[in-house]
Protein backbone atom coordinates (compact mmCIF):
# COMPACT_ATOMS: atom_id res chain seq x y z
CA UNK A 1 0.00 0.00 0.00
CA UNK A 2 1.33 3.42 -0.91
CA UNK A 3 1.16 6.04 1.80
CA UNK A 4 1.60 9.66 0.83
CA UNK A 5 1.86 11.93 3.84
CA UNK A 6 0.15 15.23 3.38
CA UNK A 7 -2.18 17.21 5.56
CA UNK A 8 -3.17 19.91 3.07
CA UNK A 9 -6.70 21.02 3.89
CA UNK A 10 -7.33 22.29 0.35
CA UNK A 11 -6.40 20.66 -2.91
CA UNK A 12 -5.39 24.07 -4.28
CA UNK A 13 -1.82 25.05 -3.43
CA UNK A 14 -0.50 28.63 -3.65
CA UNK A 15 1.12 27.77 -7.00
CA UNK A 16 -2.27 26.63 -8.36
CA UNK A 17 -3.86 29.89 -7.27
CA UNK A 18 -0.96 31.86 -8.74
CA UNK A 19 -1.33 30.01 -12.05
CA UNK A 20 -4.99 30.95 -12.08
CA UNK A 21 -4.11 34.59 -11.40
CA UNK A 22 -1.55 34.54 -14.20
CA UNK A 23 -4.22 33.09 -16.47
CA UNK A 24 -6.65 35.93 -15.78
CA UNK A 25 -3.81 38.45 -16.12
CA UNK A 26 -2.86 37.04 -19.52
CA UNK A 27 -6.49 37.16 -20.64
CA UNK A 28 -6.77 40.80 -19.58
CA UNK A 29 -3.53 41.96 -21.18
CA UNK A 30 -4.23 39.87 -24.28
CA UNK A 31 -7.66 41.41 -24.66
CA UNK A 32 -6.20 44.90 -24.33
CA UNK A 33 -3.51 44.13 -26.94
CA UNK A 34 -6.07 42.66 -29.29
CA UNK A 35 -8.71 45.38 -29.03
CA UNK A 36 -6.69 48.54 -28.32
CA UNK A 37 -3.14 48.05 -29.57
CA UNK A 38 -2.55 51.77 -29.94
CA UNK A 39 -2.94 52.15 -26.17
CA UNK A 40 0.13 49.95 -25.93
CA UNK A 41 2.21 51.28 -28.81
CA UNK A 42 1.72 55.02 -28.24
CA UNK A 43 3.21 55.33 -24.72
CA UNK A 44 6.09 53.13 -25.83
CA UNK A 45 6.86 55.03 -29.00
CA UNK A 46 6.22 51.95 -31.09
CA UNK A 47 3.53 53.27 -33.42
CA UNK A 48 3.10 51.20 -36.56
CA UNK A 49 3.55 47.87 -34.79
CA UNK A 50 -0.12 47.42 -33.94
CA UNK A 51 -0.48 44.23 -35.98
CA UNK A 52 2.34 42.57 -34.08
CA UNK A 53 0.82 43.70 -30.79
CA UNK A 54 -2.52 42.20 -31.82
CA UNK A 55 -0.83 38.90 -32.69
CA UNK A 56 0.88 38.85 -29.31
CA UNK A 57 -2.48 39.60 -27.69
CA UNK A 58 -4.15 36.67 -29.42
CA UNK A 59 -1.35 34.39 -28.27
CA UNK A 60 -1.67 35.64 -24.70
CA UNK A 61 -5.40 35.01 -24.68
CA UNK A 62 -4.90 31.43 -25.82
CA UNK A 63 -2.23 31.00 -23.20
CA UNK A 64 -4.50 32.50 -20.55
CA UNK A 65 -7.25 30.02 -21.42
CA UNK A 66 -4.70 27.23 -21.09
CA UNK A 67 -3.60 28.53 -17.68
CA UNK A 68 -7.23 28.47 -16.52
CA UNK A 69 -7.79 24.89 -17.68
CA UNK A 70 -7.59 21.85 -15.39
CA UNK A 71 -3.96 21.42 -16.44
CA UNK A 72 -2.28 24.84 -16.37
CA UNK A 73 1.29 23.55 -16.32
CA UNK A 74 1.95 23.47 -20.12
CA UNK A 75 0.50 26.96 -20.55
CA UNK A 76 2.60 28.46 -17.75
CA UNK A 77 5.68 26.67 -19.06
CA UNK A 78 5.20 28.08 -22.56
CA UNK A 79 4.81 31.64 -21.30
CA UNK A 80 8.57 32.01 -21.83
CA UNK A 81 8.06 31.90 -25.58
CA UNK A 82 5.36 34.57 -25.37
CA UNK A 83 7.53 36.76 -23.17
CA UNK A 84 10.46 36.37 -25.58
CA UNK A 85 8.20 37.57 -28.39
CA UNK A 86 7.12 40.54 -26.28
CA UNK A 87 10.75 41.41 -25.57
CA UNK A 88 11.57 41.14 -29.28
CA UNK A 89 8.67 43.47 -29.99
CA UNK A 90 9.91 45.96 -27.40
CA UNK A 91 13.60 45.83 -28.33
CA UNK A 92 13.43 48.40 -31.20
CA UNK A 93 11.95 50.84 -28.67
CA UNK A 94 15.30 51.01 -26.86
CA UNK A 95 16.90 52.92 -29.71
CA UNK A 96 18.35 56.33 -28.86
CA UNK A 97 15.92 58.16 -31.13
CA UNK A 98 12.87 56.93 -29.17
CA UNK A 99 11.94 59.66 -26.67
CA UNK A 100 9.84 57.14 -24.76
CA UNK A 101 12.57 54.56 -24.27
CA UNK A 102 12.38 54.92 -20.47
CA UNK A 103 8.84 53.56 -20.66
CA UNK A 104 10.12 50.67 -22.77
CA UNK A 105 12.82 49.93 -20.19
CA UNK A 106 10.22 49.92 -17.41
CA UNK A 107 7.93 47.53 -19.31
CA UNK A 108 10.86 45.24 -20.11
CA UNK A 109 11.82 45.15 -16.43
CA UNK A 110 8.23 44.29 -15.49
CA UNK A 111 8.19 41.61 -18.15
CA UNK A 112 11.40 40.08 -16.82
CA UNK A 113 9.91 40.13 -13.33
CA UNK A 114 6.81 38.37 -14.65
CA UNK A 115 8.99 35.83 -16.39
CA UNK A 116 10.76 35.05 -13.15
CA UNK A 117 7.44 34.64 -11.35
CA UNK A 118 6.15 32.40 -14.13
CA UNK A 119 9.32 30.32 -14.04
CA UNK A 120 8.92 29.75 -10.30
CA UNK A 121 5.24 28.94 -10.74
CA UNK A 122 5.94 26.54 -13.61
CA UNK A 123 8.53 24.75 -11.51
CA UNK A 124 6.19 24.45 -8.56
CA UNK A 125 3.32 23.26 -10.77
CA UNK A 126 5.55 20.66 -12.37
CA UNK A 127 6.59 19.34 -8.99
CA UNK A 128 2.97 19.10 -7.86
CA UNK A 129 1.21 17.90 -10.98
CA UNK A 130 3.53 16.40 -13.54
CA UNK A 131 4.29 12.73 -13.38
CA UNK A 132 8.11 12.50 -13.29
CA UNK A 133 9.62 10.77 -16.31
CA UNK A 134 11.81 8.70 -14.03
CA UNK A 135 8.97 7.82 -11.64
CA UNK A 136 9.21 4.30 -10.25
CA UNK A 137 6.44 2.33 -11.92
CA UNK A 138 4.83 -0.12 -9.55
CA UNK A 139 4.34 -3.62 -10.79
CA UNK A 140 0.75 -4.55 -10.11
CA UNK A 141 1.18 -7.77 -12.05
CA UNK A 142 0.15 -9.86 -9.02
CA UNK A 143 -3.05 -7.93 -8.37
CA UNK A 144 -5.52 -10.03 -10.29
CA UNK A 145 -8.27 -10.10 -7.68
CA UNK A 146 -8.82 -13.75 -8.57
CA UNK A 147 -8.07 -16.79 -6.40
CA UNK A 148 -6.57 -18.61 -9.38
CA UNK A 149 -4.74 -17.50 -12.54
CA UNK A 150 -6.93 -15.32 -14.75
CA UNK A 151 -7.05 -17.95 -17.49
CA UNK A 152 -8.52 -20.43 -15.02
CA UNK A 153 -11.23 -17.91 -14.07
CA UNK A 154 -12.44 -17.40 -17.63
CA UNK A 155 -16.15 -18.15 -17.65
CA UNK A 156 -16.28 -18.76 -13.87
CA UNK A 157 -19.50 -16.72 -13.75
CA UNK A 158 -21.10 -19.02 -16.30
CA UNK A 159 -24.12 -19.38 -14.02
CA UNK A 160 -25.04 -15.75 -14.71
CA UNK A 161 -27.95 -15.20 -17.08
CA UNK A 162 -28.07 -11.93 -19.01
CA UNK A 163 -31.39 -10.21 -18.31
CA UNK A 164 -33.71 -9.98 -21.32
CA UNK A 165 -33.46 -6.19 -21.52
CA UNK A 166 -29.68 -6.35 -21.79
CA UNK A 167 -29.35 -8.95 -24.50
CA UNK A 168 -27.81 -7.94 -27.78
CA UNK A 169 -28.11 -11.08 -29.83
CA UNK A 170 -27.32 -9.58 -33.17
CA UNK A 171 -26.72 -11.88 -36.09
CA UNK A 172 -27.81 -15.15 -34.53
CA UNK A 173 -29.14 -16.25 -37.91
CA UNK A 174 -32.40 -15.89 -39.80
CA UNK A 175 -35.55 -16.80 -37.91
Amino acid sequence: MNSLQSLATSSLAPSDRLARGLGYFALGIGLLQLLAPRRITRPLGLEGRETLVRACGAGKMLNGLGALSDNPTPAIRTRFAGNALDLALLAPGLSADNPKRDNVRLVMALLLGCTLLEALTARSLSERHVRPRDMHVADYGQRSGFPRPAEAMRGAAGDFRTPADMRAEIGVGPA
Binding site: L7, S11, L12, D70, R131, V137, P147, E151, R154, A168
Partner: protein, 389 residues
Protein backbone atom coordinates in the same frame (compact mmCIF):
# COMPACT_ATOMS: atom_id res chain seq x y z
CA UNK B 1 -18.58 16.66 11.44
CA UNK B 2 -15.70 16.63 9.00
CA UNK B 3 -16.23 16.23 5.25
CA UNK B 4 -14.58 16.84 1.90
CA UNK B 5 -16.33 19.75 0.23
CA UNK B 6 -16.25 21.20 -3.26
CA UNK B 7 -15.37 24.88 -3.45
CA UNK B 8 -14.76 25.33 -7.16
CA UNK B 9 -12.60 23.94 -9.90
CA UNK B 10 -9.75 21.85 -8.48
CA UNK B 11 -10.62 23.08 -4.99
CA UNK B 12 -11.62 20.34 -2.56
CA UNK B 13 -11.36 21.17 1.14
CA UNK B 14 -11.45 19.26 4.39
CA UNK B 15 -14.20 21.23 6.10
CA UNK B 16 -16.33 21.17 9.19
CA UNK B 17 -20.01 20.99 8.21
CA UNK B 18 -23.28 20.44 10.15
CA UNK B 19 -24.11 16.83 11.05
CA UNK B 20 -26.88 15.34 8.90
CA UNK B 21 -30.25 14.60 10.48
CA UNK B 22 -33.39 12.67 9.59
CA UNK B 23 -35.37 14.92 7.25
CA UNK B 24 -37.90 12.36 6.06
CA UNK B 25 -39.35 9.29 7.81
CA UNK B 26 -37.73 7.12 5.11
CA UNK B 27 -34.21 8.39 5.88
CA UNK B 28 -31.39 6.71 7.74
CA UNK B 29 -28.12 8.14 9.02
CA UNK B 30 -24.98 6.14 8.30
CA UNK B 31 -21.68 6.58 10.15
CA UNK B 32 -19.10 6.18 7.41
CA UNK B 33 -16.34 3.64 8.03
CA UNK B 34 -14.77 3.75 4.54
CA UNK B 35 -15.26 5.83 1.43
CA UNK B 36 -13.46 6.16 -1.87
CA UNK B 37 -12.63 8.71 -4.52
CA UNK B 38 -14.25 7.63 -7.77
CA UNK B 39 -12.96 8.49 -11.24
CA UNK B 40 -16.23 10.31 -11.85
CA UNK B 41 -15.50 12.54 -8.83
CA UNK B 42 -12.65 13.91 -10.93
CA UNK B 43 -15.18 15.32 -13.41
CA UNK B 44 -16.53 17.40 -10.53
CA UNK B 45 -13.03 18.24 -9.33
CA UNK B 46 -12.15 19.49 -12.83
CA UNK B 47 -15.58 21.15 -13.02
CA UNK B 48 -16.86 19.51 -16.16
CA UNK B 49 -20.18 18.55 -14.57
CA UNK B 50 -22.45 21.55 -14.01
CA UNK B 51 -24.68 22.16 -11.03
CA UNK B 52 -22.15 22.10 -8.18
CA UNK B 53 -22.35 24.71 -5.44
CA UNK B 54 -19.61 25.83 -3.10
CA UNK B 55 -19.67 23.74 0.07
CA UNK B 56 -21.29 20.65 -1.48
CA UNK B 57 -20.11 17.45 0.24
CA UNK B 58 -18.38 15.12 -2.21
CA UNK B 59 -18.41 11.35 -2.54
CA UNK B 60 -20.72 8.62 -3.74
CA UNK B 61 -18.79 5.46 -2.88
CA UNK B 62 -19.08 4.76 0.83
CA UNK B 63 -20.16 2.34 3.54
CA UNK B 64 -20.60 2.22 7.26
CA UNK B 65 -22.90 1.54 10.17
CA UNK B 66 -26.52 2.63 10.47
CA UNK B 67 -26.81 4.85 13.54
CA UNK B 68 -30.33 6.24 13.20
CA UNK B 69 -33.44 5.41 11.15
CA UNK B 70 -36.63 7.30 10.35
CA UNK B 71 -40.05 6.15 11.51
CA UNK B 72 -40.89 4.54 8.16
CA UNK B 73 -37.68 2.58 7.73
CA UNK B 74 -38.45 -1.11 8.30
CA UNK B 75 -35.58 -3.06 6.75
CA UNK B 76 -32.72 -1.36 8.57
CA UNK B 77 -31.94 -0.85 12.23
CA UNK B 78 -29.10 0.88 14.08
CA UNK B 79 -26.01 -1.29 14.06
CA UNK B 80 -26.57 -2.74 10.59
CA UNK B 81 -23.48 -2.69 8.39
CA UNK B 82 -24.27 -1.40 4.92
CA UNK B 83 -22.70 -0.38 1.65
CA UNK B 84 -24.66 2.50 0.12
CA UNK B 85 -25.20 2.46 -3.65
CA UNK B 86 -24.44 5.73 -5.40
CA UNK B 87 -27.90 5.77 -7.01
CA UNK B 88 -30.72 6.69 -4.64
CA UNK B 89 -33.92 4.84 -5.55
CA UNK B 90 -37.42 4.42 -4.20
CA UNK B 91 -38.04 0.85 -5.38
CA UNK B 92 -41.68 1.64 -6.16
CA UNK B 93 -41.86 3.81 -9.28
CA UNK B 94 -42.33 2.46 -12.80
CA UNK B 95 -38.60 2.56 -13.57
CA UNK B 96 -37.57 0.96 -10.28
CA UNK B 97 -40.08 -1.84 -10.81
CA UNK B 98 -38.29 -2.55 -14.10
CA UNK B 99 -34.93 -2.60 -12.33
CA UNK B 100 -33.86 0.72 -13.87
CA UNK B 101 -32.82 2.15 -10.53
CA UNK B 102 -30.47 4.80 -11.93
CA UNK B 103 -33.43 6.53 -13.55
CA UNK B 104 -35.74 6.31 -10.52
CA UNK B 105 -38.58 8.77 -11.00
CA UNK B 106 -38.84 9.88 -7.38
CA UNK B 107 -35.44 10.21 -5.81
CA UNK B 108 -34.19 13.32 -7.62
CA UNK B 109 -35.55 16.17 -5.52
CA UNK B 110 -34.42 18.70 -8.16
CA UNK B 111 -36.52 17.19 -10.94
CA UNK B 112 -37.10 20.51 -12.70
CA UNK B 113 -33.37 21.08 -13.03
CA UNK B 114 -32.85 17.52 -14.24
CA UNK B 115 -35.71 17.84 -16.73
CA UNK B 116 -34.15 20.98 -18.19
CA UNK B 117 -30.70 19.43 -18.49
CA UNK B 118 -31.61 15.96 -19.75
CA UNK B 119 -35.18 16.24 -21.03
CA UNK B 120 -36.30 13.97 -18.21
CA UNK B 121 -34.62 13.86 -14.82
CA UNK B 122 -32.63 10.84 -13.68
CA UNK B 123 -32.29 9.41 -10.18
CA UNK B 124 -30.85 11.23 -7.22
CA UNK B 125 -27.16 10.56 -6.67
CA UNK B 126 -25.01 11.17 -3.61
CA UNK B 127 -22.55 14.05 -3.90
CA UNK B 128 -22.96 14.53 -7.62
CA UNK B 129 -24.29 18.02 -8.34
CA UNK B 130 -27.69 19.61 -7.93
CA UNK B 131 -28.79 18.17 -11.28
CA UNK B 132 -29.07 14.85 -9.48
CA UNK B 133 -30.72 16.11 -6.32
CA UNK B 134 -27.94 17.99 -4.56
CA UNK B 135 -27.62 15.29 -1.89
CA UNK B 136 -24.63 15.50 0.44
CA UNK B 137 -22.06 12.85 -0.39
CA UNK B 138 -20.24 10.18 1.53
CA UNK B 139 -16.72 11.57 1.86
CA UNK B 140 -17.73 12.55 5.35
CA UNK B 141 -18.13 11.17 8.83
CA UNK B 142 -21.92 10.80 8.52
CA UNK B 143 -24.39 10.69 5.63
CA UNK B 144 -28.14 10.97 5.36
CA UNK B 145 -29.45 8.17 3.18
CA UNK B 146 -32.87 8.89 1.63
CA UNK B 147 -35.19 5.98 0.71
CA UNK B 148 -33.06 3.96 3.10
CA UNK B 149 -35.23 0.83 2.96
CA UNK B 150 -34.10 0.30 -0.63
CA UNK B 151 -30.94 2.37 -0.95
CA UNK B 152 -28.58 0.02 0.84
CA UNK B 153 -26.75 -3.27 0.55
CA UNK B 154 -26.41 -5.20 3.79
CA UNK B 155 -23.00 -6.80 4.09
CA UNK B 156 -21.82 -9.52 6.47
CA UNK B 157 -19.20 -8.90 9.16
CA UNK B 158 -17.11 -11.73 7.72
CA UNK B 159 -15.99 -9.51 4.83
CA UNK B 160 -13.72 -6.49 5.29
CA UNK B 161 -14.64 -2.97 4.22
CA UNK B 162 -12.08 -3.21 1.43
CA UNK B 163 -13.74 -6.34 0.04
CA UNK B 164 -17.27 -4.89 -0.13
CA UNK B 165 -16.89 -1.11 -0.43
CA UNK B 166 -16.83 -1.15 -4.22
CA UNK B 167 -20.23 -2.86 -4.39
CA UNK B 168 -21.54 0.70 -4.12
CA UNK B 169 -20.24 1.73 -7.52
CA UNK B 170 -17.22 0.59 -9.49
CA UNK B 171 -17.69 -3.18 -9.26
CA UNK B 172 -21.34 -3.23 -10.42
CA UNK B 173 -20.49 -0.46 -12.91
CA UNK B 174 -17.82 -2.62 -14.53
CA UNK B 175 -20.14 -5.63 -14.32
CA UNK B 176 -23.11 -3.86 -15.93
CA UNK B 177 -20.86 -2.47 -18.66
CA UNK B 178 -19.97 -6.02 -19.64
CA UNK B 179 -23.42 -7.52 -19.03
CA UNK B 180 -25.06 -4.98 -21.34
CA UNK B 181 -22.59 -6.06 -24.04
CA UNK B 182 -24.20 -9.52 -23.77
CA UNK B 183 -20.78 -11.15 -23.99
CA UNK B 184 -20.68 -14.49 -25.83
CA UNK B 185 -17.93 -17.06 -25.36
CA UNK B 186 -16.25 -16.28 -28.67
CA UNK B 187 -16.22 -12.52 -28.20
CA UNK B 188 -13.36 -10.10 -28.03
CA UNK B 189 -14.08 -7.30 -25.56
CA UNK B 190 -12.02 -4.14 -25.93
CA UNK B 191 -12.00 -1.82 -22.93
CA UNK B 192 -10.77 1.76 -23.17
CA UNK B 193 -9.41 2.97 -19.83
CA UNK B 194 -7.55 0.96 -17.19
CA UNK B 195 -8.74 3.05 -14.27
CA UNK B 196 -10.78 1.45 -11.48
CA UNK B 197 -13.93 0.89 -13.59
CA UNK B 198 -11.83 -0.41 -16.49
CA UNK B 199 -10.17 -2.87 -14.09
CA UNK B 200 -13.56 -4.22 -13.03
CA UNK B 201 -14.66 -4.38 -16.67
CA UNK B 202 -11.62 -6.58 -17.36
CA UNK B 203 -12.42 -8.94 -14.45
CA UNK B 204 -16.12 -9.03 -15.31
CA UNK B 205 -15.42 -9.82 -18.96
CA UNK B 206 -13.11 -12.66 -17.93
CA UNK B 207 -15.60 -14.07 -15.42
CA UNK B 208 -18.41 -13.83 -17.97
CA UNK B 209 -16.36 -15.84 -20.44
CA UNK B 210 -15.08 -13.47 -23.13
CA UNK B 211 -12.55 -15.26 -25.33
CA UNK B 212 -10.23 -12.27 -25.48
CA UNK B 213 -10.13 -9.14 -23.31
CA UNK B 214 -8.09 -6.13 -24.41
CA UNK B 215 -7.43 -3.03 -22.32
CA UNK B 216 -6.26 0.31 -23.73
CA UNK B 217 -4.50 2.98 -21.68
CA UNK B 218 -1.17 4.78 -21.46
CA UNK B 219 -0.32 4.44 -17.75
CA UNK B 220 2.06 1.51 -17.28
CA UNK B 221 1.05 0.49 -13.75
CA UNK B 222 -2.63 0.49 -14.74
CA UNK B 223 -1.88 -1.66 -17.75
CA UNK B 224 0.09 -4.08 -15.59
CA UNK B 225 -2.92 -4.41 -13.28
CA UNK B 226 -5.18 -5.01 -16.29
CA UNK B 227 -2.81 -7.72 -17.52
CA UNK B 228 -2.91 -9.33 -14.09
CA UNK B 229 -6.68 -9.60 -14.52
CA UNK B 230 -6.35 -11.39 -17.82
CA UNK B 231 -6.29 -8.57 -20.38
CA UNK B 232 -4.00 -7.96 -23.32
CA UNK B 233 -2.66 -4.43 -22.84
CA UNK B 234 -2.38 -1.76 -25.52
CA UNK B 235 -0.40 1.35 -24.60
CA UNK B 236 -1.72 4.02 -26.95
CA UNK B 237 1.41 6.10 -26.46
CA UNK B 238 3.48 3.30 -27.94
CA UNK B 239 1.33 1.71 -30.63
CA UNK B 240 -1.66 2.38 -32.84
CA UNK B 241 -4.86 1.26 -31.14
CA UNK B 242 -6.68 0.65 -34.42
CA UNK B 243 -3.87 -1.36 -35.96
CA UNK B 244 -3.32 -3.46 -32.85
CA UNK B 245 -7.03 -4.17 -32.34
CA UNK B 246 -7.41 -5.24 -35.95
CA UNK B 247 -4.31 -7.41 -35.62
CA UNK B 248 -5.74 -9.12 -32.52
CA UNK B 249 -9.08 -9.77 -34.22
CA UNK B 250 -7.82 -10.96 -37.61
CA UNK B 251 -8.79 -7.64 -39.18
CA UNK B 252 -12.43 -7.81 -38.08
CA UNK B 253 -12.43 -5.58 -35.00
CA UNK B 254 -13.72 -6.40 -31.51
CA UNK B 255 -17.38 -7.41 -31.21
CA UNK B 256 -17.81 -5.56 -27.92
CA UNK B 257 -16.28 -2.18 -27.06
CA UNK B 258 -16.46 -0.51 -23.64
CA UNK B 259 -15.75 3.15 -22.92
CA UNK B 260 -14.52 3.28 -19.32
CA UNK B 261 -13.00 6.72 -19.83
CA UNK B 262 -15.80 9.21 -20.39
CA UNK B 263 -15.65 12.90 -21.00
CA UNK B 264 -12.02 13.61 -20.11
CA UNK B 265 -10.37 11.42 -22.72
CA UNK B 266 -6.65 11.94 -22.92
CA UNK B 267 -5.03 11.25 -26.27
CA UNK B 268 -1.74 12.86 -26.97
CA UNK B 269 -1.16 11.79 -30.53
CA UNK B 270 -4.47 12.36 -32.25
CA UNK B 271 -5.64 15.48 -34.02
CA UNK B 272 -9.20 15.08 -32.80
CA UNK B 273 -8.18 15.24 -29.16
CA UNK B 274 -6.32 18.51 -29.73
CA UNK B 275 -9.43 19.80 -31.48
CA UNK B 276 -11.57 18.71 -28.50
CA UNK B 277 -9.31 20.38 -25.97
CA UNK B 278 -9.35 23.64 -27.93
CA UNK B 279 -13.13 23.63 -28.26
CA UNK B 280 -13.56 22.73 -24.61
CA UNK B 281 -11.26 25.62 -23.59
CA UNK B 282 -13.48 28.15 -25.35
CA UNK B 283 -16.69 26.44 -24.16
CA UNK B 284 -17.84 25.25 -27.58
CA UNK B 285 -17.93 21.65 -26.42
CA UNK B 286 -18.27 20.17 -22.95
CA UNK B 287 -16.99 16.61 -23.41
CA UNK B 288 -14.01 15.07 -25.20
CA UNK B 289 -15.33 12.03 -27.09
CA UNK B 290 -12.09 10.63 -28.53
CA UNK B 291 -12.82 7.15 -27.17
CA UNK B 292 -16.33 7.13 -28.62
CA UNK B 293 -14.97 8.02 -32.06
CA UNK B 294 -12.33 5.32 -31.86
CA UNK B 295 -14.83 2.68 -30.66
CA UNK B 296 -17.31 3.47 -33.42
CA UNK B 297 -14.56 3.26 -36.01
CA UNK B 298 -12.94 0.02 -34.87
CA UNK B 299 -15.95 -1.99 -33.63
CA UNK B 300 -16.96 -4.96 -35.74
CA UNK B 301 -20.17 -4.38 -37.76
CA UNK B 302 -23.26 -5.40 -35.75
CA UNK B 303 -21.20 -5.05 -32.59
CA UNK B 304 -22.08 -3.41 -29.28
CA UNK B 305 -20.72 -0.24 -27.70
CA UNK B 306 -21.14 -0.05 -23.94
CA UNK B 307 -20.56 3.31 -22.27
CA UNK B 308 -20.19 3.32 -18.48
CA UNK B 309 -17.83 6.32 -18.73
CA UNK B 310 -19.54 9.52 -17.62
CA UNK B 311 -20.50 12.20 -20.15
CA UNK B 312 -21.99 15.48 -19.03
CA UNK B 313 -23.17 17.46 -22.02
CA UNK B 314 -22.37 18.01 -25.65
CA UNK B 315 -19.88 16.34 -27.97
CA UNK B 316 -18.76 17.29 -31.44
CA UNK B 317 -17.72 15.35 -34.57
CA UNK B 318 -19.31 12.08 -33.56
CA UNK B 319 -19.09 9.75 -36.59
CA UNK B 320 -22.75 8.91 -37.05
CA UNK B 321 -22.09 7.47 -40.54
CA UNK B 322 -20.07 4.47 -39.33
CA UNK B 323 -22.33 4.08 -36.30
CA UNK B 324 -25.45 3.80 -38.45
CA UNK B 325 -24.04 1.92 -41.41
CA UNK B 326 -22.29 -0.69 -39.27
CA UNK B 327 -25.49 -1.31 -37.32
CA UNK B 328 -23.87 -0.82 -33.95
CA UNK B 329 -25.86 -1.12 -30.74
CA UNK B 330 -25.15 1.52 -28.09
CA UNK B 331 -25.85 0.66 -24.44
CA UNK B 332 -25.15 3.20 -21.73
CA UNK B 333 -26.42 4.70 -18.49
CA UNK B 334 -25.55 5.11 -14.87
CA UNK B 335 -25.42 1.81 -13.04
CA UNK B 336 -28.57 0.15 -11.65
CA UNK B 337 -26.38 -0.83 -8.71
CA UNK B 338 -28.74 -2.96 -6.62
CA UNK B 339 -29.78 -4.98 -9.64
CA UNK B 340 -26.39 -6.71 -9.48
CA UNK B 341 -25.21 -6.52 -5.91
CA UNK B 342 -26.82 -9.67 -4.46
CA UNK B 343 -25.11 -11.73 -7.15
CA UNK B 344 -21.78 -9.89 -6.84
CA UNK B 345 -21.79 -10.15 -3.04
CA UNK B 346 -22.35 -13.89 -3.40
CA UNK B 347 -19.35 -14.09 -5.75
CA UNK B 348 -17.17 -12.18 -3.28
CA UNK B 349 -18.26 -14.45 -0.44
CA UNK B 350 -17.56 -17.49 -2.60
CA UNK B 351 -14.04 -16.20 -3.22
CA UNK B 352 -14.53 -15.84 -6.97
CA UNK B 353 -13.16 -12.28 -6.78
CA UNK B 354 -11.64 -10.02 -4.15
CA UNK B 355 -12.33 -6.40 -5.18
CA UNK B 356 -9.68 -5.02 -2.82
CA UNK B 357 -7.03 -5.75 -5.47
CA UNK B 358 -7.61 -2.29 -6.94
CA UNK B 359 -6.78 -0.28 -3.79
CA UNK B 360 -3.41 1.42 -4.02
CA UNK B 361 -3.81 4.14 -1.39
CA UNK B 362 -5.53 4.09 1.98
CA UNK B 363 -5.36 7.27 4.04
CA UNK B 364 -7.37 9.36 6.48
CA UNK B 365 -10.19 11.58 5.25
CA UNK B 366 -8.13 14.66 6.12
CA UNK B 367 -5.71 13.75 3.35
CA UNK B 368 -8.55 13.59 0.83
CA UNK B 369 -7.96 17.00 -0.80
CA UNK B 370 -4.41 16.09 -1.73
CA UNK B 371 -5.43 12.61 -2.84
CA UNK B 372 -7.73 14.16 -5.45
CA UNK B 373 -4.65 15.73 -6.99
CA UNK B 374 -2.58 12.55 -6.73
CA UNK B 375 -5.36 10.46 -8.29
CA UNK B 376 -6.14 12.97 -11.07
CA UNK B 377 -2.48 13.47 -11.97
CA UNK B 378 -1.74 9.71 -11.77
CA UNK B 379 1.12 10.27 -9.32
CA UNK B 380 2.60 7.75 -6.88
CA UNK B 381 1.21 4.80 -8.91
CA UNK B 382 -2.27 5.74 -7.72
CA UNK B 383 -5.22 3.75 -9.07
CA UNK B 384 -7.77 3.72 -6.25
CA UNK B 385 -7.93 5.75 -3.06
CA UNK B 386 -9.82 4.62 0.03
CA UNK B 387 -10.39 7.20 2.75
CA UNK B 388 -11.05 6.50 6.41
CA UNK B 389 -13.05 9.19 8.25
Amino acid sequence: MKALCWHGKNDIRYDTVPDPSIEDPRDAIVKVSSCAICGSDLHLYDHYIPGMESGDVMGHEFMGEVVEVGAEVHRLRPGDRVVVPFTIFCGECEQCLRGNYSVCERSNRNRELGDKAFGHATAGLFGYSHLTGGYAGGQAEYVRVPFADTTHIKVPDSLSDEQVLFLGDIFPTGWQAVVQCDVQSGDTVAIWGAGPVGQFCVRSAVLLGARQVICIDRVPERLSMAEAGGAIAINFDEESVLERLNELTRGKGPEKCIDAVGLEAHATRSLDSVYDRAKQAVMLETDRPHVLREMIYVCRPAGVLSIPGVYGGLVDKLPMGPLMNKGLTVRTGQTHVNRWTDDLLRRIEAGQIDPSFVITHQVGLEQGPDMYRVFRDKLDNCIKVVLKP
